[in-house]
């Protein structure tokens, strides 16, 4: 499975390539008053309005400084997922969502059997597991869990 890796909040994270529509440099945002601090604002990409999540704010204890030149990842909407993606169990969200991250790192191929469950010290529910890559670990993000938590938090 191809995973795109990126840096955010001091860690390396990954999501399936098939869940990505496009990478781009930040474009001007419309701030949303009184919104959750994890929501950076709204943007308009190719006529579609998308919600921008500041991934850094989603972690309990981010480290390091936010990047000077961050990047954005526009996620595929659920209905645009390719049949291949569905068959592999890639899940997404109904409305357009953009992740604001520090840096896009690479696209890597990982084997499903190398996945390990989320270690106990990581309390973020949206981290579904980790996988060893090179010198360190990539945290695999479960996007629907994250997005659900923001959009419809459990009381």
């Amino acid at each position: 499975m191809q995973i795109v890796t990126f840096a955010s909040a001091g860690g390396v994270h990954g999501i399936p390539v098939l869940a990505v529509e496009e990478f781009f440099r930040p474009i001007p945002l419309t701030r949303v008053p009184l919104a959750d601090k994890r929501i950076a604002g709204l943007l308009n990409q190719r006529g579609k309005s998308a919600t921008v999540l500041n991934l850094r704010q989603c972690f309990h204890r981010p480290t390091g400084e936010p990047a000077l030149h961050p990047k954005m990842i526009l996620l595929e909407t659920e209905d645009h997922l390719t049949p291949e993606a569905r068959s592999m169990g890639v899940r997404s969200f109904a409305d357009p969502v953009v992740l604001l991250v520090d840096r896009i790192l690479d696209i890597v191929n990982i084997d499903r059997k190398d996945w390990q469950p989320r270690p106990a010290h990581i309390t973020e529910q949206f981290v579904s597991g980790v996988v060893r890559h090179g010198d360190g670990y990539i945290c695999l993000l479960e996007l629907p869990t994250l997005i659900d938590d923001i959009f419809s938090p459990k009381a």
Binding site: V4, V17, L18, T82, E84, I107
Partner: protein, 786 residues
């Protein structure tokens, strides 16, 4: 006199046009050419990949929008590759231009500094000769000699062909001459005494007086020689100092070794002598360019001035003084300095480095390696280098002695009111030393990222660095988007994957290579900056040493002044008045002294140059002052003492004083215990600040750089003078980096330096002294903020 003026700055490098470096330029190092070729071939490889991508798009997709998307991505990649190719070329251009500019600045300035050091020295010499020619010992001697001569000549026909007359003629023609040689003198004396009995009555008295007068001439001439020796003992940079009568006969000289050959020589036809006789008054002198003189075998550089009746500035010319400067010795010292040294034998200049001086027509007059660049001949360099135009610092590449070299030249611009003799200084440096690639990165003490952000890296390089990083990101985003796009095409996209992979790899490779090059440039910039600071600090300490050498010479010379010892031996109000007047006269010509004082052996100030302070000073005892004590301990007139920069009660209103002192001996004797001390208070802060302010670094356009400072520290590394009272105040003790604190005489160091939480680069040089003046263990420092 020593006033410092700004030295010209190397012309700013040409930013465009003629100074472009083609990759085929021979100056480009092999490593860089390989590097460049790799980047070019990688980037050129992108274009066919993109074409292939466009074709594949048509193959894998029938959807026009999809095809267009892919083609669009490919086009963007192509345009980025094209831009990167341009940026790479520009980078090399900047890299080599910056290096060339820096080297032009460093070596061009060095070539200039060499001729300037010589000019400064020669200026001091012009003051010397005028001042000395006015000594009464010399005018007295010539006056008497000439008068006695006339009278002897008149006596010759009267004595006629008698036995006495023949002896008289013989004695007058005899070498060594009667004016100087005791034996001939006594023969002449016997002859005259004999004649006094034989001659007609009317001339007997004259012969008798002459017999005693010629002894007086002998005494006066020998006293003149003594005084010349005193001068030469104080000012050691002369090979000889001579006094000649109006008809060109040398009657006194300072060099004992050559005295027997020199005295009696007639130099009436030598240019320096004729020019000296032609001067209009005592303020004029003549500087004779290198010439052959009967006095020496080497080429001589002679300064001359007229000796006038009664030592009066406007008196009748009665003779001339010629001073023979040790040009060859001085030139050797200057030429051997600032040269890379052989790593094994530090006494040898490194191979391929040459330094030489040429005269106004381009003939070599001094050379660091006489075996290769022969004095007396034309050097094998282009015409524009042999006789460069005034104010220009030409630099060019040429093969010299079979080695690719860079040649830097600088023509004299004189110094203050000394116009110079049209000489030029040249420096030849092997080219590989200029474009050598920076290798050490670990010992810099600064992270490469900090360095890239520092003020040392020119704005243009920072912009290029930002652009390269931006392009790197763009290419990465394009290729990642391409891979995402391809993956969604499923099986159809398989053919596209490798194309985007390739683009991604190429983009990463070339951009990271370019980042490396930019970092190498930054390190090179740092190293050259360090080198420049080192050179500036060396210049600062060298100029100071030479200045202080003159002070050491002055004090030794003045300590022998007869007004001073007379006043101490016969302490009458009138004699003190005379001594004080003499000090006033000296101080009038030597404005770099704040005051001159004369102390008796009890440490009481008995005379001083500044009349307004005289009463105040009279009540002061200097008995415990180091300058007084150490001068009292000297045993020879060739010794002097100095009190390092510190507070002195002689100048209660000044923070710090620098006092040179010498022992005064009765009768102007050269040896023995002093009967008192002459102290000279050097206007230290003014002179030091003047020198320091010329040793501050400049940017590429010759403008001064904000935050730079230059200062001197004493042997305890306490600041004794500074250009920046705010950040590096006098009295501050610095915690210098270890290498800078452990410098030995004549050594230099450079590196990073943190002071008051600010980061600087620092260049330091410790005094090596000049000639017999050992220096005071001071160090000069120049800092530049980063």
């Amino acid at each position: 006199m020593s006033i410092v003026t700004q030295s010209p700055v190397a012309a700013p490098a040409h930013r465009n046009g003629d100074a472009r470096f083609s990759i085929f330029s021979p100056v480009i190092t092999v490593e860089h050419r390989e590097f460049y070729e790799k980047i070019v071939s990688e980037l050129n490889g992108v274009f066919p990949i993109c074409t292939q991508g466009k074709c594949t798009a048509v193959e894998v997709s029938e959807d026009a929008t999809e095809q267009e998307q892919i083609t669009d991505l490919m086009k963007r990649v192509e345009s980025f590759s094209g831009e990167l190719l341009e940026v790479t070329k520009q980078l090399f251009d900047q890299f080599y231009q910056a290096k060339e500019h820096f080297c032009r600045m460093i070596h061009g300035t060095t070539a200039y500094v060499k001729i300037n050091l010589m000019d400064r020295n020669l200026l001091e010499r012009t003051c010397d000769v005028r001042w000395w020619a006015l000594e009464t010992a010399f005018s007295d001697c010539i006056d008497l000699t000439q008068k006695v001569h006339e009278r002897l000549k008149r006596l010759v026909p009267i004595a006629g062909d008698s036995a006495g007359g023949k002896t008289l003629r013989k004695c007058l023609e005899k070498v060594p001459r009667w004016e100087i040689d005791a034996e001939t003198n006594s023969q002449l004396q016997t002859c005259l005494t004999g004649l006094a009995k034989q001659l007609p009555e009317s001339h007997r008295a004259e012969a008798t007086t002459l017999a005693s007068d010629i002894v007086l001439v002998l005494k006066k001439a020998s006293f003149a020689c003594d005084r010349l020796e005193d001068i030469n003992n104080s000012y050691t940079l002369y090979r000889d100092i001579v006094i000649a009568t109006k008809d060109g006969t040398i009657i006194a000289n300072s060099n004992q070794q050559t005295r027997s050959q020199v005295l009696g020589l007639n130099i009436a036809d030598e240019n320096w002598f004729q020019k000296a006789l032609a001067t209009k008054d005592g303020t004029q002198y003549h500087a004779q360019d290198l010439t052959q003189s009967r006095l020496e075998t080497d080429q001589s550089l002679v300064y001359s001035a007229a000796i006038r009746e009664n030592s009066d500035n406007y008196g009748k010319v009665i003779g001339a003084m010629g001073v023979f400067f040790d040009f060859q010795g001085e030139a050797q010292m200057i030429l051997d300095d600032h040269m890379a040294r052989d790593t094994v034998n530090q006494n040898h200049v490194d191979d391929g480095w040459f330094s030489f001086l040429t005269n106004s027509v381009g003939t070599v007059i001094a050379s660091s390696d006489a075996g290769i660049i022969e004095p007396g001949k034309m050097p094998h360099v282009s015409r524009k280098h042999r006789t460069p135009a005034a104010g220009e610092l030409p630099m060019s590449y040429a093969v010299f002695e079979g080695r690719e070299s860079a040649i830097f030249s600088a023509r004299t611009d004189g110094y203050l009111d000394y116009p110079g003799l049209g000489w030029s200084s040249h420096l030849i440096v092997p080219k590989d030393q200029i474009f050598r690639t920076a290798t050490v990165t670990t010992q810099l003490g600064i992270s490469i990222d900090d360095l890239m952000q520092s003020r040392l890296v020119p704005e243009i390089n920072k912009q290029t660095f930002a652009k390269v990083q931006d392009d790197k990101e763009s290419i990465q985003l394009i290729s990642l988007n391409g891979i995402v796009f391809a993956s969604k095409l499923g099986k159809r996209g398989v053919a596209l994957g490798p194309i985007f992979d390739q683009i991604k790899q190429t983009g990463e490779f070339t951009t990271s290579k370019m980042e490396d090059l930019l970092k190498e440039m930054a390190i090179g910039e740092l190293q050259l900056n360090l080198q420049a600071l080192e050179n500036f600090s060396k210049q600062a300490i060298d100029l100071l040493d030479r200045n202080l050498f003159e002070r050491a010479a002055d004090i030794r010379w003045w300590s022998t002044d007869q007004f001073f010892w007379t006043a101490l031996r016969e302490p009458t109000a009138e004699n003190f008045q005379k001594a004080a007047h003499r000090m006033e006269v000296i101080n009038g010509s030597y404005t770099m002294y704040r005051n001159l004082v004369l102390a008796n052996r009890n440490g009481e100030i008995v005379a001083s140059a500044k009349s307004e302070d005289r009463n105040k000073l009279r009540s002061i005892s200097v008995y415990d002052d180091p300058w007084f004590l150490s001068a009292m301990r000297t045993t020879k007139s060739s010794e002097f003492a100095v009190q390092d920069v510190q507070k002195s009660k002689l100048e209660p209103r000044k923070e710090r004083s620098l006092i040179y002192s010498g022992g005064v001996r009765a009768g102007g004797e050269r040896q023995g215990d002093p009967i008192g001390v002459v102290g000279i208070l050097f206007d230290w802060d003014t002179e030091a600040k003047k020198i320091l302010s010329t040793c501050l670094p400049k940017n590429r356009d010759g403008e001064s750089i904000a935050g730079c400072a230059a200062f001197y520290t004493n042997s305890d590394y306490e600041i004794i003078d500074t250009t920046d009272e705010e950040h590096f105040p006098v009295g501050n003790k610095l915690a210098l980096p270890a290498a800078h604190g452990a410098l030995k005489a004549g050594q230099s160091a450079s590196g990073l330096f943190v002071h008051q939480d600010k980061r600087y680069i620092l260049g330091s040089s410790r005094t090596k002294g000049y000639r017999e003046y050992a220096g005071l263990s001071w160090t000069a420092h120049v800092v530049r903020p980063i």
